[in-house]
Symmetry: C2
Subunit: 307 residues, 2 copies
Amino acid sequence: MSGSVRIYEVSMRDGFQNEPVVIPTEQKLEHLQGLLRAGFRDIEVTAFVRPSWVPPLADAAQVVAALPDAPGVRFWALVPNAVGLNRALDSGLRHVATFLSASEAHNKKNVNRTVTESLSELQQVIAKARAEGVQVRAYLSTVFGCPFEGDVPIERSVVIARALLDAGAQEIALSDTIGSGNPVQVKHVVEAMLAAGIGVEQLAMHLHDTRGTALANAYSAWQEGVRTFDGCIAGIGGCPYAPGAAGNAASEDLVNMFELMGVDTGVNLGAACEVAETVTEVIGKPLPGRYHKYLLAARRRSANRSA
Amino acid sequence: MSGSVRIYEVSMRDGFQNEPVVIPTEQKLEHLQGLLRAGFRDIEVTAFVRPSWVPPLADAAQVVAALPDAPGVRFWALVPNAVGLNRALDSGLRHVATFLSASEAHNKKNVNRTVTESLSELQQVIAKARAEGVQVRAYLSTVFGCPFEGDVPIERSVVIARALLDAGAQEIALSDTIGSGNPVQVKHVVEAMLAAGIGVEQLAMHLHDTRGTALANAYSAWQEGVRTFDGCIAGIGGCPYAPGAAGNAASEDLVNMFELMGVDTGVNLGAACEVAETVTEVIGKPLPGRYHKYLLAARRRSANRSA
């Protein structure tokens, strides 16, 4: 094996929040058990956002209250602001993820604030979380393209990432929010971050597969030394700007690619695909991930042969 | 733009031959018109194989007889052997593609010959084609993995590729037949070919997307200098070893990735997606390609908004 990568699983948050069906808490917890059996060690389980904004995650407190004892596993929740952080702290969680956009128009649409206003608020949120001994990741959205502004200058993303780290964030998830990134651009963005003195171990890639480029982009970032990749079982979640298009990079597809490359993910591919198959039934439609469908097809063929 | 790539379109052969529906000749020719409108310049239009083996391509002679006049476009046909070559020559085609496998078990299953027997036969086929002034490409299957033998030593592929070029083939399409390749392996394979004195302009990549890795593998080959990539509109064709899994790299997804990278493909992405939408209707099921589905979803959203 040539090294390892860390797959940060986001299906329970970024996946479930963007699917039209509201999944009962009980089923979410079964899904979580599947993720744990598969070996995921970083799992974003929900978001402490206003329930009326994101109804599928309205059960955030119940999900966190029911989290199993899982040594070595980090359970994360998304918190948009101080109110969200307080709810997360009350719930007892020790890992939070916050977010803002690199582009003004997307940030305005998303949280109705300028980037500067968001940054100033997040600096306090991050400082408070760190003061409580809580780990903090920060998503930086629209780094690779904005649905409203198009191209986003790399220098903007570098400055904001730097500010988030200075505020105490321990990881920046460079996010291809609409899946418009390409591997050459990924290389340039990561290079620019490193040139600004950001450590490669402080970076994660959050890559949507809207146009099929997520794995190519992941490979490009891996070549630059990035070792943390967000994945979403079966690629659920879709794209809020193009409903019906593919979602995040499928966790099992990332696992397969890295393991084929000789890179350890710590995840059992077969067990991850079992979760993908179950969530396909729960959501009730074919999902974008490739590997779980390949496995199902290969199994059907083999069953037909032996019949 | 930083250079260009050539997209070699295989939907009419590798796509149609692996779909359960037999498409009428007339519809194939309409599909071809769409490919030409989109700007594809290398199009594999059919295969001169035994009709009983591949019923969807039984109309090979009719398709070739009806090819439009298209200056600057190369129309290719697959020929498995001397009989196939003669049929292609009789049809008037000036570009043929032949094939054999890097692994013994796959070659045996595919054409019921050892690799040495196939190579010896193809040497004559290639020599005759070249003597007639016909251009020859050769697919080398299972370079990145065999459905029966698993790993295939790179040295085998290098030796066979060398022999095919020595026989007069002008291009070797390194084929990931079952989509089990990974980008690090692609890098190693291309490096080994170049180290054996093969010119990078003699190489093409034929990458199936069974496990979602086709674009990552294409990017890796591009980094090594390869500039010809096989694509199949909408990713049709599937995988003969796992029916229901994804097919070839979708042409429009390749076009999108390269164009985003600033690499010219000569193909109009919107026009390619129109072909993808039409072929989706013809085949009658959702197809694996990502970009055409994204475009459709984005258009629907925009229509809903203006409604």
